[in-house]
């Protein structure tokens, strides 16, 4: 099965198949490369850049860079971690992330990656944008403050649910998530609570309604183990959802 091809990740040999990205091969080998907009179930997006690695002296996103025989990939040097911290610090100031009041706190990938990269404080001036909450849907609520524009809900809705409910509009700093509905409100879209799109949000932007802090402190996803061991939030969100629906089926 093995193609016999390998590259070096922090000096360790990682085998890969034709068509693999560095991220694909690393994840398969059980090696963690921090990421936010990547989810192996969907086409790579390469937008958050948190998976930045150094390949033979060049900074590249591991989720889009094809694996290549004998390349040397730096995934953990201080310089790489510093770059990732800067990217995360920009994400934190660009929205309003008030973690202590956020339902996702403790199970949030942005927070967990920030801990993993040892981001201990903000560095840039906060933008404090004025952003709203869309609670028009009966089962789902969207917090624009916490959206990091990873595009995962957009990809899931389009590629799995076949609905195209989400889209990123605008450019650069003016980009924002929009909903495909006559009123522009989430409640008027075709989104349903069982859609794949609802279970892939890595942060606290897209959440089920009427639920707050039902999981106690100490029992949350990243409360006791780091994200490098636990893995992506989406893995558990879909497990939760399917176990919920199977519970209600019983």
């Amino acid at each position: 099965m093995s193609s016999g091809k390998t590259f070096k990740l922090d000096g360790k040999a990682i085998s890969f198949e034709e068509g693999d990205t560095i991220m694909d091969a690393a994840l398969r080998a059980g090696e963690y490369i921090p990421h936010l907009c990547h989810n192996p179930e969907f086409k790579p997006h390469g937008s958050c850049r948190v998976c930045v690695v150094d390949v033979n002296g060049h900074s590249m996103s591991a989720c889009t860079r094809p694996a290549e025989q004998d390349i040397d990939v730096d995934n953990s040097s201080d310089a790489i971690m510093d770059l990732r911290r800067s990217l995360l610090q920009m994400l934190f100031v660009e929205g309003n992330h008030i973690c202590p009041a956020c339902e996702k706190s403790g199970a949030c990938q942005l927070q967990a990656v920030a801990y993993y990269t040892r981001m201990l404080s903000p560095r840039f001036t906060h933008f404090f944008p004025r952003r709203s909450i869309d609670a028009s849907h009966p089962d789902i609520v969207f917090y624009f403050n916490r959206c990091i524009l990873c595009g995962l809900c957009e990809r899931a809705s389009r590629d799995v649910d076949g609905k195209n409910v989400f889209s990123i509009s605008g450019r650069g700093i003016n980009s924002k998530l929009v909903f495909n509905s006559p009123s522009g409100k989430l409640g008027d879209s075709e989104l349903s609570v069982t859609d794949k799109a609802v279970s892939v949000c890595p942060v606290g932007a897209l959440l089920p309604k009427h639920q707050g802090y039902e999981k106690p402190i100490g029992k949350r996803l990243y409360d006791t183990k780091p994200i490098s061991v636990v893995g992506d939030a989406a893995l558990y969100q879909s497990v939760n959802r399917s176990s919920k629906s199977s519970e209600s089926n019983e």
Binding site: P100, A101, E103, S132, I133, A135, S136, V141, G187, K209, H210, Q211, G212, Y213, E214, K215, P216, I217, G218, K219
Partner: protein, 496 residues
């Protein structure tokens, strides 16, 4: 009943004294005193610059976030806001009743919170005044002085508080800003190990709580007449009460009594609080002045907190606290106890009751039950009322069809006591201010009066941190005659 010292008839020709932020009272308080040329007090007002931003801030948030969100109102008693919001959102999610496990865990959390807050209030903030006297040197009259002179008392204070904080941590997940109570119930029950852990020290806690009551009584009776009269005022009393008239801090109806002990209203469903209590506004203060509607603003103001609760209840359901209550009310000779410094005495009786109640609850197997949540049909509004350590606390929310808060009203304990604190300061000022020079004694007396009610104006002002104290004495021409400054370090300087 409102003192004539609230508004002078001819304020123009009067001399103005300003006492700037009270030390050891978190938040920003300022006292202004106006004198006539004969140096009589003509006007005395406590200004608390209440920032009503929190009600505005809550607007637009989903209701299910509220129990966690509102804790940020106060660093000293976040659990009270947590539970008041949880109770209001219980109504919103249509949970008419909680499961026994949820109700008991919340009660346990609240007892822990009241225990730690009362220990902080008495031992850390007020015991230096009471143990050393109000005229003791400022450098010495603080918790460090207590640690040096009375190490055993200081140690008990610290450990009582720590025990209360541990009860909070176990029930809410964290010592501060936990998440235990959620709309319709709680998110975790207790494990047998957690119960065992809390049981380990509860016997010692009850013993210390008994000693604390004895200590405050000894202090009170040593200078009985002084304690009975200092900042003493006649007021109505408001509190929550259990169905059978028992002392209650988590859930019950509203009871109000006048200074003679006559009932004004009783067992009122608190979701109708708006029919019984109004919030008055005065043009000289940002903070509201609540009053009992049927008595009007002039006579309807009231006191809340330990003094009101112990006066209002017919009995304590725990034996040690009940014995202490009888002795306490015995001093009133058929009326209600109106001494402002008796707040401390009542506070420690409550502390004893909390420790007895925790011991009782820890033997209840419902604490490790699995039924945590109850939900029904979504309602458009909810009211949660709880007895916070410093007094009755109201949270009232209205939500829209999407579950977003469109209106919020909070009446915090400090606001409920606003008029009463003003009245107590007037009493103190007219007794102790004379001459053209400000005295340190006056500054201390004013602080001691306010601290009997409240060490933290922060829940009303939403400001944190201690600030230096300043008194300005200004004559009728606006000239500064004297200024006394008290720094955060306790250092006092005359700067004019």
């Amino acid at each position: 009943m409102t003192s004539e010292l609230e508004t002078a008839e001819h304020p123009k020709g009067l001399k103005r004294t300003v006492i700037e932020p009270l030390t050891r009272v978190e938040g920003h308080g300022k006292v202004t005193l106006l004198q006539d040329e004969k140096q009589n007090i003509k006007q005395a007002r406590l200004h608390i610059s209440e920032f009503r931003g929190f009600e505005k801030f809550i607007q637009g948030r989903p209701y299910w976030e509220l129990p966690v969100l509102v804790q940020r109102l106060c660093g000293i008693c976040p659990v009270s806001h947590h539970l008041a919001a949880a109770k209001a959102t219980d109504m919103i999610v249509g949970a008419a009743e909680l499961t026994p496990t949820a109700e008991k865990i919340r009660r346990l959390m609240h007892f822990g919170q009241t225990l730690q807050s009362h220990a902080l209030h008495f031992f850390h903030l007020c015991s230096p005044d009471l143990l050393f006297g109000f005229d003791d040197e400022v450098r010495h009259r603080n918790i460090v002085g207590v640690i040096e002179d009375e190490p055993e008392i200081a140690k008990q204070g610290v450990l009582l508080r720590k025990y209360g904080q541990e009860v909070i941590r176990v029930t809410a997940g964290k010592r501060i800003h936990g998440t235990g109570a959620i709309p319709g119930g709680i998110n975790k029950s207790l494990s047998k190990d957690e119960i065992k852990y809390l049981k380990r020290d509860i016997g010692q806690v009850i013993e210390w709580a008994q000693q604390a009551v004895e200590l405050v009584k000894r202090i009170f009776f040593e200078h009985y007449d002084y304690h009975m009269s200092f900042a003493s005022i006649d007021s109505n009393m408001l509190s929550v009460i259990r169905n059978d008239g028992a002392f209650e801090i988590y859930h019950g109806g509203l009871r109000a009594r006048d200074e003679k002990g006559n009932t004004i209203f009783d067992h009122i469903d608190y979701s109708c609080y708006g029919d019984y209590i109004r919030e008055g506004v005065k043009n000289w203060s940002y903070m509201k002045f609540p009053f009992i509607t049927s008595l009007g603003q002039e006579n309807g103001w009231y006191r809340v907190g330990p003094l009101a609760r112990v006066n209002n209840c017919d009995f304590f359901p725990t034996p040690l606290a009940e014995r202490q209550r009888r002795e306490f009310t015995g001093t009133a000779e058929g009326r209600t106890v109106q001494s402002t410094l008796a707040y401390h005495w009542a506070r420690l009786i409550e502390l004893l009751h909390c420790s007895e109640s925790i011991a009782e609850l820890l033997n209840d197997s419902d604490l490790y039950g699995n039924e945590l949540l109850n939900k029904g049909e979504l309602q458009c509004c909810g009211t949660g009322v709880i007895e916070a350590p410093r007094g009755t606390l109201f949270h009232h929310y209205e939500i829209n069809d999407d579950g977003i808060v469109k209106k919020a009203n909070l009446i915090v304990s400090t606001t409920n006591n606003n008029q009463a604190m003003n009245e107590s300061i007037r009493k103190v000022a007219s007794q102790y201010l004379d001459g053209n020079q400000l005295s340190e004694a006056l500054l201390n007396q004013v602080e001691v009066a306010v601290r009997a009610y409240d060490p933290c104006l922060s829940c009303a002002t939403h400001a944190m941190g201690k600030m230096p104290l300043q008194i300005n004495l200004v004559n009728d021409k606006g000239e500064l005659l004297d200024r006394l400054e008290k720094r955060a370090s306790g250092e006092i300087n005359r700067t004019v």
